[in-house]
């Protein structure tokens, strides 16, 4: 029976270094000594490439906070960070097969998607609005009646546009576009009168347009502001808890607000554009009460 104290002592001594207790992503990170971060190439200002083709952005800054927490938790100061470019069409398979451990971009957190993946605390809220040329004098949804309006195929925005169009019998000719750049091009070339999209994406498209002063974003919104979150694997409780704690501390700290101002209210690389988007009331609420709730109503 004198083995028991020995065994106990061994367990206690060995405990901090034992990887056997870890599961999921944390276990994988501990074993491989590296963590893989999914990044986007053109999701300004959340996750995009700067002039050195290095991924930068608001969501990337937040992801590095999560990675700092992982380093501390696993006692891995030299943790390697792999940056993996992802698209909206391959982010799910890459997350499912373990190529990426967290996705840092502008992915909307909603109930349907939560059946497949999980999201950490909301880092941005965006409402569905429309952009039009100033010369068209369009500012309310009602004024779009009978016009050709574009939105990006496969987004929740085009769904909301279709719903409003049907419910209010506006007779809008809804045209789907392949991506945001093409949709904006359709407004620029006059193929469409307006482009319905998340307001922050519209702001960044305008900021990078040939003549930013020619465009205006509507005040009218098609939806309540929807939350964006950092995507992590579903049912990986320890990793999500760690990510939630890290993001929560970050949003509540002054550094959180400073980081927001850095990306949304100051000139950003590569061209020194300023998106001029101060925190909305919902955004302030999301920072003061960090939450991963997919329900837009909980933020207003």
């Amino acid at each position: 029976m004198r083995f028991i104290p020995l065994a106990l002592a061994a367990m206690l001594l060995g405990a901090p270094a034992m990887a056997a207790e870890l599961t999921g992503t944390l276990q994988k990170v501990k074993e491989t000594g590296s963590i893989a971060m999914g990044v986007r190439d053109s999701s300004v200002p959340f996750s995009y490439l700067d002039e050195q083709q290095k991924p930068v952005g608001y969501a990337i800054d937040i992801c590095y906070k999560i990675i700092d927490a992982v380093k501390k938790e696993l006692n891995l100061p030299n943790l390697k960070v792999q940056l993996v470019p992802v698209l909206s069409s391959n982010r799910i398979p890459l997350m499912a097969n373990g190529t990426i451990d967290l996705e840092c971009g502008s992915t909307t957190n909603n109930v349907d998607r939560e059946k497949q993946v999980s999201f950490t605390n909301t880092h941005y809220l965006t409402a569905s609005k429309f952009v039009a040329k100033k010369s068209e004098h369009l500012n309310t949804i009602a004024e779009l009646a009978g016009k050709t309006v574009v939105s990006t195929a496969g987004t929740t925005n085009i769904v909301q546009l279709n719903q409003v169009n049907a419910a209010r019998k506006l007779g809008i000719n809804v045209v789907p576009a392949k991506d945001h750049a093409e949709a904006f091009l359709m407004v620029e070339t006059g193929r469409a009168s307006a482009f319905v999209m998340d307001d922050i994406i519209l702001a960044s498209l305008i900021a990078s347009a040939k003549d930013p002063s020619a465009y205006v974003i509507s005040d009218d919104a098609f939806s309540a502001a929807e939350p964006y979150g950092i995507m992590v694997r579903k049912d990986d409780v320890p990793f999500k808890a760690l990510a939630d704690k890290a993001t929560r501390e970050f949003y509540l700290s002054p550094e959180g607000k400073a980081t927001y101002a850095k990306w949304f209210q100051s000139p950003i690389p590569p061209k020194g554009l300023n998106l001029n988007t101060p925190m909305s009331a919902g955004m302030k609420h999301a920072f003061e009460h960090p939450s991963d709730n997919p329900d837009p109503a909980s933020y207003n």
Binding site: A96, N97, K115, V159, N162, N173, E182, G190, R191
Partner: protein
């Protein structure tokens, strides 16, 4: 793999509010079939005319045919669709361009014409090869019988040429069906675009694309079987397969 399979996803309501996810894919398949059918009609008719031009005596007609073929065959389909959709309307005089831009079904019309013309170049080459594969004596015999040029093609050359090129034409038909997926880049809501939309809404990417893959496979197998049947039916005894 940390993937959550959910084959029941197809029977759930899509956020578009017009039906289930399955309905979305069915609508996409319908668009694919209609686009492919119309594009193939254009490809076959225009391709036959251009192919015949290429085999005519003289210099002018074959030169025109060669221009058409090289123009449409040597540019990627994606580039052609972009040119038709974005560049051509801006080259037209003002009001025409605006009219074209505001057409309600612009992506569909552009896709049908763009894919139709692209495939017509390939059909033309095959029609021309089919005619050229015939022994030269056939044309001479037709002339000796006193048939005019059009009659020679209608009654002597083309009936045999089409029979010879039926197998490669089947491949072109299948290519037309598959090429409709390129039209998603100009916003046509065909099968691949709808599969992508299903994955965007539900995040069930493997289920969505498995369903799309099976749909393409079944459609193309049916097209292949139909072409085989046609081949057997129109075979001239003593020619072709023993």
């Amino acid at each position: 793999m940390g993937y959550h399979w959910n084959w029941g996803i197809f029977w759930e309501q899509s956020p578009e509010g017009t039906g289930t996810y399955f309905d979305m894919l069915v609508q996409g398949l319908e668009t694919t079939l209609v686009t492919a059918a119309l594009a193939w009609l254009i490809a076959f008719v225009v391709g036959s005319v251009v192919g015949v031009l290429r085999t005519l005596p003289g210099r002018v007609a074959p030169a025109i045919a060669t221009c058409w073929i090289e123009l449409f065959r040597n540019m990627p389909l994606l580039v052609q669709l972009f040119l038709w959709y974005f560049v051509v309307p801006d080259l037209l005089p003002g009001p025409w361009g605006v009219w074209l831009k505001q057409l309600p079904n612009a992506p569909f019309i552009t896709a049908v014409l763009g894919i139709g013309f692209f495939m017509s170049a390939r059909v033309a080459v095959q029609v021309a090869s089919g005619v050229e594969a015939l022994p030269r004596g056939q044309r001479a015999a037709a002339t000796a019988l006193g048939l005019t040029g059009p009659q020679t093609y209608r009654y002597v050359l083309l009936p045999m040429a089409y029979r010879i090129i039926l197998p490669p034409l089947t491949s072109e038909l299948l290519n037309t069906i598959k090429n409709t997926s390129v039209a998603l880049t100009i916003g046509l809501a065909e099968l691949t675009a709808r599969a992508r939309a299903v994955q965007e809404f539900s995040f069930q990417v493997f289920e969505a694309f498995t369903a799309a893959t099976l749909a393409y496979l079944v459609v193309n197998l049916i097209a292949t079987l139909a072409a085989r049947w046609l081949e057997d039916r129109v075979r001239v005894p003593g020619f072709g397969k023993p």
